[in-house]
């Protein structure tokens, strides 16, 4: 008989480790037409990091995403970066990019100030213009300011900066201290069907609500969550490297079972409205945490459906059926 159940799981996950140096550097150069180039040492590994970093640079310069070209990942050309690891890129590299873009913008302000007959600290950059605070009609385009700065004053608009979440030593006895700069939080709720005659589990729906601070690009955060859930479904129900005498017996995609699109449940993804003052424009991170609570939400839903506690992953049909049979034998 098919039994239905629901289960929830929440989680916390750290962003920006501080127990060791965790630096990123960035360089932003504004071109004389108001477009810009960002140099970063991080690597695009499919998560959309370069798009997000470009958006952060664009925001700080007051231009649009399309105005910033991102150059990445060449030790001959790009500044150091601790890398695409630990959900750190938006937060750590993003902070470095923001600081670098602000330095480039400062040069534009200094050059535009005499053009607008005000002081540099009276200026703001938005909508591709540099304008006087409170008097938006008094403005020049960012291209005009960059051209004047570079080609007339000889002061090209380039900014370089680095960011490192302050490194903190932990108490060796108790582990007490501040091992990470910030944390993100999430809840996932699963709706499952369990066949109590075969032990097979089908996940019908997962609702996922995640905190990432300000979503720099909500579409890419949603993509991360969808991908993370697919890894979580595999971890919960299917994936396992099997060994016999130290030899992997299923090192191939025929026998290592993982979710395909046909195995994926309906997904409902939402973001929590949140802002972290330590992140670039309030952002934290979104990569790893998306895969964290899925397995527990599913096994809690299995319990709700058939009353058995799965304590060993993955919850394969055999494991679930064995647990159901043990429960029947007791009752």
């Amino acid at each position: 008989m098919i039994k239905r159940g629901r289960g929830m799981a929440c989680m916390w996950y750290p962003i920006g480790f501080t127990v060791a140096a965790n630096a990123s550097a960035a360089t932003v150069k504004v071109n004389t037409d108001g477009t810009a180039t960002l140099l970063t040492g991080t690597v695009e590994t499919g998560q959309g990091a370069l798009t997000v970093l470009g958006q952060i640079a664009a925001e700080a310069l007051g231009v649009a995403t399309d105005d910033v070209h991102v150059v990445s990942a060449d030790t001959d050309a790009t500044p150091m970066d601790t890398g695409a690891i630990a959900s750190r890129t938006t937060y750590v590299t993003g902070n470095a990019v923001k600081l670098a873009a602000e330095k480039a913008r400062e040069i534009l302000f200094e050059s535009a100030a005499p053009m607008l007959k005000v002081r540099a600290d009276q200026l703001e950059a938005r909508d591709r213009r540099i304008q006087v605070l409170g008097f938006p009609s008094k403005s020049v385009t960012i291209g005009e300011a960059a051209h004047y700065s570079e080609n007339v004053l000889g002061n090209p608009s380039i900014g370089s900066a680095s960011y490192n979440p302050p490194t903190v030593e932990m108490d060796p006895e108790t582990g007490a201290g501040k091992p990470f700069n910030t944390y993100v939080y999430a809840t996932q709720i699963a709706d499952v069907e369990v066949d109590d005659e075969t032990g097979e589990v089908e996940v019908k729906k997962i609702v996922a609500v995640h905190d990432c601070g300000t979503p720099i690009n909500p579409m890419l955060v949603e993509g991360q969550i969808q991908g993370g859930i697919s890894m979580g479904v595999g971890f919960a129900l299917q994936e396992e490297i099997l060994f016999k005498d130290g030899v992997q017996v299923n090192p191939n995609l025929t026998n290592y079972i993982m979710p395909t699109s046909l195995d994926m449940p309906e997904l409902e993804v939402e973001l929590v409205d949140n802002y972290d003052p330590t992140g670039p424009f309030g952002a934290k991170g979104a990569g790893e945490p998306t895969a964290v609570p899925t397995a527990a939400a599913i096994t809690n839903a299995i319990y709700d459906a058939v009353g058995v506690r799965i304590t060993s992953l993955p919850a394969t049909a055999e494991r679930v059926l064995t647990a159901i049979e043990e429960k029947r034998a007791i009752s």
């Binding site: 289960g7 929830m8 929440c10 989680m11 996950y13 690597v43 695009e44 499919g46 959309g48 370069l50 798009t51 952060i56 007051g62 231009v63 649009a64 995403t65 990942a73 060449d74 030790t75 001959d76 150091m80 970066d81 695409a84 690891i85 630990a86 909508d127 108790t174 582990g175 990470f180 910030t182 939080y185 999430a186 996932q188 097979e200 589990v201 609500v209 905190d211 690009n217 993370g228 890894m231 299917q238 099997l242 060994f243 005498d245 090192p251 191939n252 026998n255 079972i257 993982m258 939402e270 934290k284 790893e288 945490p289 964290v292 609570p293 527990a296 809690n300 304590t311 992953l313 394969t316």
Partner: protein, 470 residues
């Protein structure tokens, strides 16, 4: 219905293993690709999200996404250079053995083979992000089946694979340990020598857990276990090395961290960093598996020996057996709580199957231990965690660094606590969850906390209160 029957999988797989002892890929016919140019649209359609200010918060499309869709992204396998040759690595035939002799002469005699390489030829034959306990190619000892023993560079991938079968390796098999709990025993064989197989440990202590457990209305205990899983990126590990006439080497790699990658290459190759250019190409999925060097020093050495650019792309089999995978955890959780559902104590013991080498275990044990009590206000906590060597695949970084493992345990136990005191799973979590300013297990004051917001929002979206099991 999902395919979740592991016994079928295991039977099939054992047959496959018998048929495929050499780990060489199946022979493929040599097919010359047809030069059939594709006409791409070369104008980027206007995208409002990319042209709008302010930029933050826009659902901006990815320029690299369009190139992926058009097939224009250059992954390593798409990159080729004149006179480029291909490398393959022979993997260990034993999970634990002493290497007595490696004879590459028959492989070198094969037409099309340009060079071979063994661990003795690597200038500094060790690497690792914290402990440098892993050889680039095995020296005297192999510690798991994924250890490389020798490498070949040949004019085609197929010849390189065939040449691996001609390499004669004499082993003296050693006792091997596969169970981390056995590896913990005092009289067990020590995989890396010394007096213990424990190579990383972590303690988190807050309050007085024993006193609080004794004062609890209820105490429950459960052991949880998680399995080994692979990252399974669409693009396997891949790289190309090209050593030039100035003694400078350029390496194109699927590595996710080039700054530290170049440090590792400088160390293993004994080269100044200025003599190394490392280019991170667009990566077809990382998930933590591409955070350290693999074949890059081997390719650099083979390029130096042959004077040619040398490429290697892992087969799916290489990806499983010789790249890193997720740590299996054995987790003992004891929680003490009151009749009203307040959790006052949590005592946790984590055993990490640490595989043959350390890799990113330091970060995994650190995050796993700190996160293990869950996002809850618990005044009395003790977490003790140990990572132990086994003769299995190297466990390293994988999306979450131990967090998915401990979350499975702490969230399973939350539901059991709720049931014990007769509360709803949502209510037990809301009662105990962190608030703004809560103190973490390491006594860190937390800011921008949103666990309760996520619980409330998800429950409303799911209609948790209105749900019927029908």
């Amino acid at each position: 219905m999902m395919a979740t029957r592991t016994t079928d999988v295991q039977t099939d797989a054992e047959e496959l293993v018998k048929a495929r002892e050499s780990q060489a890929p199946a022979k493929q016919p040599l097919v010359k690709p047809v030069d059939d140019p594709v006409i791409y649209p070369l104008e980027l359609p206007e995208s409002e999200t990319r042209l709008t200010t302010p930029a933050v918060g826009q659902r901006a499309t990815r320029p690299d996404g369009r190139l992926h869709g058009l097939g224009q992204t250059q992954y390593i396998d798409d990159i080729t250079f004149p006179h480029m040759v291909h490398a393959k690595v022979l993997r260990s035939a034993h999970p634990h053995a002493r290497i007595l002799n490696v004879d590459t002469s028959a492989a070198e005699a094969m037409p099309g083979v340009l060079a071979t390489l063994t661990g003795k030829e690597i200038p500094t034959n060790s690497f690792g992000p914290t402990l440098q306990d892993q050889p680039v190619l095995a020296g005297e000892i192999v510690r798991h089946r994924g250890d490389g023993v020798a490498a070949v560079a040949a004019v085609t991938e197929q010849i390189a694979a065939d040449a691996l079968e001609k390499i004669k390796v004499e082993y003296e098999p050693l006792e091997a340990i596969f169970d981390p709990l056995v590896a913990l025993e005092e009289d067990s064989l020590k995989i890396h020598g010394g007096d213990t197989n424990v190579y990383a440990s972590k303690v988190i202590k807050k309050g007085d857990v024993e006193t609080a457990l004794a004062a609890s209305d209820h105490v429950i205990h459960q052991q949880y276990q998680t399995q080994m899983v692979e990252h399974v990126p669409l693009e396997p590990h891949a790289s190309i090395a090209s050593w030039d006439g100035n003694g400078r080497v350029s390496i194109w790699s699927s590595l996710g961290r080039i700054t530290l990658g170049r440090e590792d290459l400088a160390r293993t190759l004994n080269l100044p960093q200025a003599k190394i250019r490392l280019i991170g190409t667009i990566v077809g999925g990382n998930f933590g598996g591409k955070n350290e060097i693999t074949n890059e020093p081997i390719l650099a050495m083979l390029s130096r020996k042959t004077g040619r650019p040398v490429k290697s792309v892992f087969t799916r089999g290489d990806e499983f057996v010789s790249s890193t995978i997720r740590h299996p955890f054995t987790m003992d959780y004891t929680s003490g709580f009151m009749n009203d559902g307040t959790i006052i104590a949590r005592k946790i013991r984590l055993i990490l199957d640490g595989g043959a080498y350390c890799s990113w275990t330091g970060t995994t044990i650190g995050k796993g231990s700190i996160l293990a009590p869950g996002p809850y206000n618990i005044d009395n906590i003790l977490v003790e965690a140990y990572a132990v060597y086994t003769n299995k695949t190297t466990t390293g970084a994988m999306r979450g660094f131990g967090a998915p493992q401990v979350c499975f345990a702490y969230e399973s136990q939350m539901d059991d606590i709720a049931r014990t005191v007769g509360m709803d799973p949502l209510e037990i979590r809301l009662k105990n969850a962190f608030n703004e300013g809560s103190s973490s297990p390491t006594n860190q004051s937390l800011h921008s906390v949103a666990v309760k917001e996520s619980l409330t929002q998800a429950s409303e979206r799911f209609d948790w209160k209105g749900w019927q099991n029908d």
